[in-house]
Symmetry: none
Amino acid sequence: MNRGVELAEKLAVPRGGSILLAVLDGLGDVNAPGQGTPLEEAETPNLDALTRDGALGQLIPVAVGVTPGSGPAHMALFGYDPVENLIGRGVLEVLGIGFPLCRGDLAARINFCTLDDDGIITDRRAGRISTEKCAELTAVLDTITIPGVEVMVRPVKEHRACVVFRGAGLADGLGDTDPGAVGLAPLPVEAPSPECRRSAEVVGEFLRQALALLRPQPRANGLLLRGIAANREYGSFGSRFRLNPAAVAVYPMYRGLASLLGMSLAQPAPENLQDQIGAVHDARARGCDFVFLHHKPTDSSGEDGDRERKKAALEEFDTALPEILKAGFDVVAVTGDHSTPCAMKMHSWHPVPLLVHGGFQRTGWNSAFSERQAASGSLGTMNSMDLMPLLLASAGRLEKFGA
Amino acid sequence: MNRGVELAEKLAVPRGGSILLAVLDGLGDVNAPGQGTPLEEAETPNLDALTRDGALGQLIPVAVGVTPGSGPAHMALFGYDPVENLIGRGVLEVLGIGFPLCRGDLAARINFCTLDDDGIITDRRAGRISTEKCAELTAVLDTITIPGVEVMVRPVKEHRACVVFRGAGLADGLGDTDPGAVGLAPLPVEAPSPECRRSAEVVGEFLRQALALLRPQPRANGLLLRGIAANREYGSFGSRFRLNPAAVAVYPMYRGLASLLGMSLAQPAPENLQDQIGAVHDARARGCDFVFLHHKPTDSSGEDGDRERKKAALEEFDTALPEILKAGFDVVAVTGDHSTPCAMKMHSWHPVPLLVHGGFQRTGWNSAFSERQAASGSLGTMNSMDLMPLLLASAGRLEKFGA
């Protein structure tokens, strides 16, 4: 655990300034020699104005060289040790379709696959069946009943679906049944420890019934489970830091993750940045003193390797910023959960630029919000887990440590 | 515990260069846009000359975002983990009046208060009685006797006083009796664990006798105890780092803290910076190879929000520096325990500038001692606990680690 976070939990008081944490997903990027990054090339006059009156720094999401998924990257920003609080893949997948998970639920991702007569995998994606077909198959599997357990199967996209088991004693610890290659049979479900014997029984019974139901299918006659994970308790963000937090996100996974941590969600769910502006104002109006605003297009464009779209996503946020800030915040932080360099088309380990405005900063050091200026800003280089103590301190919400 | 400190304890040798650690209390500051910090605006030609031949860096006192009290901030500079070695508030208060604490003493701060006929607090400061009145009341309370325990009550200022219990088995762990608000009765003294049962008995008996003695008082007819703390053993600074250390401080609390760590104190106690210059020379003359010099006015002016006075306090130190350096040191470090920004009028979490001169540095990187130049100095950003290993190394007092 991070020392600053541990102390911040003890020193936090339920009063002081309000905080906006705007996460531009995948914000950081890299550049070729002679080229700027998307953040350097985008026109972001509002972010640059905040920079001139504020302070820059950069965040290392988990550790030098470690590329995080969205789960650990956000957990670190929220002051949860991303290693000790790793959210299982199945749980994130289910959160991503907006499914209302309960504590103790066991969740897994399903990949429909094609099996030959000997039960050997011949296509790990079942010929990429349509999303409609996926919905049809999951409706069939959703009829499976197992005594003492509620079984819920939902479609995701194409060959991808998910399953949630709800019942007593479903412990974490099962491995994937996906062997990761064609030409092999799916792996058996085995309990590596006595605690997950019940989970293994339930998942095994589900697979037996599911295989029987899928047998008539020409392509999707099998299924592989990945990331089987129990939905743990992570401790309330608001209780830990004495805040009344709200999450304003378009994508279900980020809403789900924030909800796991006890943040209140914007209702109805915003569908775009314009909706999000309104939701930020609503959150302030209902007394929330911490707002997590999630902007996804900076990541999706990076994943697609589309520099122009990433610049546009940055400019879109910059244009919305003045309206967002009218909701009134004492401390404004703009950063990312991780970098998603266009040249890599994936998440990366690179430090993420951080801008903090408000609440007594060493200021006037920088003129524009960019990776390069962030690396020499007055906030320095810190771990993502250091962010919450810094923001709470900036908002005057931490008492002094010791006399 | 910090890895560098652990190794330094093992690698330190009792020979090598001499070290001056000058702590300008509350040194760091922040600036408004378009404004410099006091350190940037002050005329400090001698510090700037050391900077040009030396190296800059910055120290994070405890953790990002954590504002330390003077106790933990100094403990970290001296290479003591400030969380594992948190000095109790009562102990610091008693050190602050120059009281000669012994190991195992139980110390607490007293606030005289006003109670109504039902024992409910109506004024937590007893109408801010005069310091003379305080001395009169503490003289009365000092007559209290408890079998097996020596009870010593001393005035501090206005309604504030302190008490020390000396005897066997007085363990730490009691909570405050101050409920923190008027309209409530003082909290009872309760032992949260069997080890502090004796402490609870002693403190409870003291309070019973004290209330009886104070009953006739019109305003200060009650008392509240805060920060009840045992004076632990912290391990000798000189033994840990193989140094013969001296402390040269005007304020009793810093002398007391240094004394707890086994540093020898300048005698007679210096009353101003001029006295301190002489005391530094005396310490060198009596063979001390490590001198801790504490300069308080940079903090007090910051606490008062007085930028001009903070600049003057910096300039006063700068002017004295050549005379101090004539005492002859191989390595000179100038830093602060924490920041005390004038705009905040309190301690803060901001990194503290550090200047190290002597002993092979990467030099010529900076032209003046300031927060901004320190952030890009060759020493980088480190934790305050990293300072002692760095100074010992610079003085050639650490052996190589491993072959």
